[in-house]
Amino acid sequence: MSDLLQYAATGIALGSIYALVALGFVTVFAVTGAINFAQGEFVMLGAMIAAQLVHAGMPLPLAAVLAVAGAALAGAALHELGLRPALGRLSPLGLIMITIGAATAIRGMALIAWGTDPFTVPAFTPGPSLDLAGAAVNRQTVWIVATTAIVLALVWFLFQRTATGRALRACAADLVAARLVGVDPRRMGLVSLTLSGAVGAIGGVVLAPITFASYDMGLMLGLKGFVGAVIGGLASAPGAVAGGLLLGLLEAFATPISSGYKDALAFVVLIAVMLLRPGGIFRGSFARGRI
């Protein structure tokens, strides 16, 4: 039983990161129609920038804030330089290629700047693992889950209660109608990308103490976050979060069966969901086309 709880704890932690990445995907997709391949790189930037700053002596909270700001900036730059000139002109394939290109470029720049070695980040509150009902839960894991929950709550608040959030949702639901009421889709695209950069980076910052920060950590995280988003139905924010969590749990429980093949698991699930339930597993439970 404590084993199960152990796996569940790992799964929820992992799933939280996937959920943050998935949320980023859905936000950008719903507002701009583009799949942002660089989503995972935002996580990487958060982790790496924080790691570098901490190693340079900066206190962790400040480093974290700067890391998140840096990634948000990257997101904004991606929108202005890469997406804005392309939207409306290029097909889905073209958009994907641009974001793939951007992701690769970001990864390359990280490689040049920081090399191939992984960097460590100290745990936020160092100490022995906590004992929760027989399962040894890493303290950082608690940070991950708690931070994710707070971020999700803030994002929910943003979407539901602020003017910007309403504008974002309007774009997601009906672009033409949104334009008619004065929403500027390009500005919203910029907002969505900046937001998803920040959200991804927060995930990277809390994840770094557990997994080490390295220049290529973004690829797999991004792809798996995408899988989470698809599981939840690509245009649904709550679905994306649920999908990310689900994927994390699936991977955690698959680890004892085969640790090596578990990377493939996510993609098998992806293909299965796309072929069998393209609206996502929760189709109908969460309204589509709404974030």
């Binding site: 002109r89 394939l93 641009i98 793939i100 951007a102 993609f267 293909i271 072929l275 393209p278």
Partner: protein
């Protein structure tokens, strides 16, 4: 094929035949790589440029061809002359099987499905150690060499690879102008209209997907034959991306674009690899990655018809799949 195409293929064949007389071993290896990747890239051009489908996992077909060919040669002792076609056939068969369900998807879903398949393939290569020797790979793959009295292994490899490459080039050039080529272009332009004229679009898409998988498999098998050592590491998403970049840079609008793109990328990467350490001491392939990314994005944004499109515009002649000047008909354009 047009008369111009025939002439061009002939000229290319002659150049390749004479190359060993004037080129260094290093330059010959660039030509060999161009031929190898060109075969795979042409397959992508047909799939992505002609029929407007997507594949972000073509490295898997390349790797499949390489591994099937290499394993049959080393484990089962089969002659490389047979294992090379076997590799191509294996890739073709797998493309057929996975293509059926996957091609029902469109746009990003198709892209991600092919991406996923590519990743699953690489994971299998790494994990199924009994079969593939896992991450450490295996070597000593016997090579097929042409029974010609020529000096130097590079020359023999060059001729073998380009024999295949020219055949693929000629076949594809013919295909594009033929009745099946028209059908594929129609489907790429408007699947619904094609379907309603009586074309079984699902079948056609599967055919071109299978063909492009076969090309990639052939290229992979020839690659295994050339490098004689295989490990899972090169056959991942980055390689799928490289193939796509080659196709885009060369120009998705033309079969020639496949060759041009392959050559451009091979030459560029080699140049970078050699000269970067001189310009920026301590660096190696990292800048490559950045340039890749930027090149891809920039190309897609600015010149979706690629280098060939640039040249065709300069020549004032339309010698490509898409004869229309820069309007909304490029495969990367919306609608």
């Amino acid at each position: 094929m047009t008369r111009g195409d025939v002439t061009a293929v002939g000229v290319l064949a002659a150049l390749i035949a004479l190359a060993p007389l004037v080129a260094s071993g290093y330059q010959l290896s660039i030509l060999i790589s161009t031929g190898l990747y060109g075969i795979a890239t042409i397959g992508l051009v047909l799939l992505v440029g002609l029929a407007r489908q997507v594949s972000l996992g073509h490295a898997a077909f390349f790797g499949l061809g390489a591994y099937v060919s290499g394993l049959l040669a080393t484990r089962a002792g089969i002659s490389p002359w047979l294992t090379i076609p076997a590799g191509a056939l294996a890739a073709m068969a797998v493309a057929y099987v996975v293509g059926r369900p996957v091609l029902r998807l469109h746009g990003h879903y198709l892209a991600m499905a092919t991406l996923g398949l590519g990743i699953v393939f690489q994971v299998v290569l790494n994990e199924w150690v009994d079969l593939t020797r896992g991450p450490s790979g295996f070597g000593s793959i016997p090579t097929a060499t042409l029974p010609l009295p020529i000096a130097g292994g590079e020359t023999a490899s060059l001729y073998l690879v380009w024999l295949a490459a020219l055949a693929v080039l000629a076949l594809s050039l013919w295909l594009v102008r033929s009745s099946p080529g028209r059908a594929l272009r129609a489907i790429g332009d408007s699947e619904v209209a094609s379907e309603l004229l009586g074309l079984h679009t699902a079948d056609w898409k599967l055919r071109v997907f299978t063909l492009s998988g076969a090309y990639a498999g052939l290229a992979g098998a020839l690659y295994a034959n050339y490098v004689t050592f295989l490990s899972p590491q090169p056959f991942g998403f980055i390689f799928s991306l490289e193939l796509l970049v080659m196709a885009v840079v060369g120009g998705l609008a033309s079969v020639w674009g496949g060759m041009v793109g392959a050559f451009t990328l091979v030459a560029l990467t080699e140049t970078l690899r050699r000269s970067l350490p001189e310009w920026l001491p301590g660096s190696s392939g990292e800048l490559e990655l950045v340039l890749f990314g930027v090149a891809l994005a920039a190309m897609v944004l600015l010149r979706p018809t690629g280098l060939v499109g640039l040249a065709a515009a300069g020549l004032g002649r339309a010698r490509s799949l898409r004869a229309a000047p820069a309007t909304a008909e490029e495969p990367l354009h919306a609608g």
